[in-house]
Amino acid sequence: MTTTLPHGTTPADTGRAPFPWRRAALHTGALAVLAVMLYPLAWLLATSLKPAEEVIASLNLLPGRLEWSNYTTALEGVNGVTVWQLLTNSLLIAGGAVLGNVLSCSLAAYAFARLRFRLRGPLFAFMIATIMLPHHAVLIPQYIIFNQLGMVNTYWPLILPKFLATEAFFVFLIVQFMRGLPRELEEAARIDGCGPFRSFFLIILPLTRPALITTAIFTFIWTWNDFFTQLIYLFSPEKFTLTLALRSFVDASSQSAFGPMFAMSVIALLPIVLFFLAFQRFLVEGMASSGVKG
């Protein structure tokens, strides 16, 4: 797909209506790309409702007969742990992470964006550098630390780091947003006797709400999807998250388990889809503003 269409003679003033076929071609192309992209999702939904024999025999996308029992099987869960338990575990971790990131990252961001202190330049540069730091460089010692603290196979290693602003991407995101707020606000507040703490909580934080919501939603989705950290730190089935429980399907690739396996995959994707539908404006704009200044 490109915008360079055969007729180089098309005037470039996009403000005027171009030839109708051109617009039609663009929409056709976009819809075609969209159809290909949505196919895996449609396939997932369809397969989660297919009876076992159809998964193997039939090439149709749509199931001939809806097999709802895939979902009842999926609800029973894995390793004797119900989906409700897995869902609760996932929500607990994601919720803790959201709270931690919003709190700690906004505190750090306020200091970097609005306060003056020695070493601000170097520390800010270091903070930015940690965005690029591969997780693996700190992974093993972190594991050893949490192991020493007796926290392996608990949720602390998954939640605690978020309360310490270790996800520098969000600090950066909030810093960028706070820099856009007019300085006069705090100056007026200072004249009225507000210290930095009251300025932060009463003036800056409420105005930063869009960035905080973006942080919260991204944290939720990324934590929900994060497989690697959960794989390393959790090993009791009753502490598993939905994502981790899907792991037990990784080894078993027999197609008779396809229906329940993809029913469970749908359940695991559902919260992300709902979040996306509810907050897509924040998500798309949050992503856009991370790459383009201003």
């Binding site: 180089g8 396939w43 690029m132 050893i144 310490l164 703490f197 856009a288």
Partner: protein
């Protein structure tokens, strides 16, 4: 790392109140307040970032299995890695192949779609959101499992193209994983689109008055004006691609197969450290990854001086 090249411009306090005299009690109190705000980050950065980096560097020179005290082996892990471990090199090869295939392809698709959307007047917001959705879903285990099934023997791709299952064939399995990355082009696309919308329309008007073709306009206006955004996406996606784990784990049942073709670096690191309990070896691998990502980022930053164009530097 290459932090010095990042345009770090800590916002200056507006000069309205004039410069603070040093030693004024209010100033010192403010400095104290800053450190209170900063304290969670300072704790996290030192205990969960700096200290672990130092420890993993130390461990990389030891033999360590989590149960017995680490024993110093000097450069043994590194020499073993580079000279005696063919799987290590296969993991390096798979990762580099994946990065070189997936990242440019993903960015090219992202840019093409962003340009198409930019010239649309209706439905742009809808497409933008719809194309972005896979970027959020694609990192999940659910989608990784879907991918394995679609690219398996008897899966959709097999039925459609008759090429057999990609994930079972050493020469194709990597492409299956790369396509999952390309599928997630929405995040860079959204950033490209935002960048495209900031290019002033007068530039195109002037160019078309001068009779420049669309292709010429793309080369002479769009690409240079967009180059900071291209650069941002390139750095971000490259760093992320070096660390990809979940799809390779799902596609190969955690083993990196077939024939180590999807044995990504992180998968092998996980295998050495957490499956085989060679924490020292895994730490050495982690440090090589850190240095490799640092080097690649540094090279990108260095070459960027010749192709990234910042309009505000030209006194616009």
């Amino acid at each position: 790392m290459t932090t010095t090249d990042i345009p770090v411009t800590p916002a200056r306090r507006g000069g309205a109140t004039g410069p603070k005299r040093p030693g004024r009690p209010g100033g010192r109190r403010r400095e104290g307040a800053a450190w209170v705000f900063l304290s969670p980050w300072v704790l996290g950065a030192s205990v969960l970032t700096l200290l672990p980096m130092a420890v993993s560097l130390y461990l990389s020179f030891t033999d360590y299995d989590m149960f017995n005290a680490p024993s110093w082996v000097g450069l043994r892990n590194y020499t073993q890695m580079f000279t005696e471990d063919p799987r290590y090199w296969r993991s390096v090869g798979a990762t580099l192949r994946y990065v070189v295939i997936a990242v440019p392809l993903q960015l090219a698709v992202a840019l093409a779609v962003a340009m198409a959307l930019k010239s649309m007047r209706r439905g742009r917001a809808f497409y933008r959101s719809a194309f972005y959705a896979p970027s959020l879903l694609g990192a999940s285990m659910s989608i990784a499992l879907v991918w394995r099934a679609i690219f398996n023997d008897g899966g959709t791709v097999d039925n459609l193209l008759g090429t057999g299952g990609w994930v079972n064939r050493p020469e194709w399995a990597l492409f299956a994983v790369a396509l999952l990355t390309v599928w997630q082009f929405g995040a860079p696309m959204v950033i490209f689109l935002a960048g495209l919308q900031q290019i002033p329309g007068e530039l195109y008007e002037a160019a078309s008055v001068d009779g420049a073709s669309r292709w010429r306009q793309f080369l002479s206006i769009t690409l240079p004006m967009l180059s900071p955004v291209v650069f941002f996406n390139l750095v971000l996606q490259t760093i992320q691609a070096f660390q990809v784990f979940t799809p390779a784990f799902a596609v190969s049942a955690g083993k990196g197969g077939p024939a180590d073709s999807t044995l990504f670096y992180t998968l092998y690191l996980y295998d050495r450290g957490f499956v085989a309990s060679h924490m020292g070896y895994a730490s050495a691998m982690a440090w090589v990854l850190l240095l490799a990502i640092g080097a690649v980022t540094a090279v990108l930053f260095r070459t960027s001086r010749s192709w990234v164009f910042y309009a505000d530097e030209e006194g616009r």
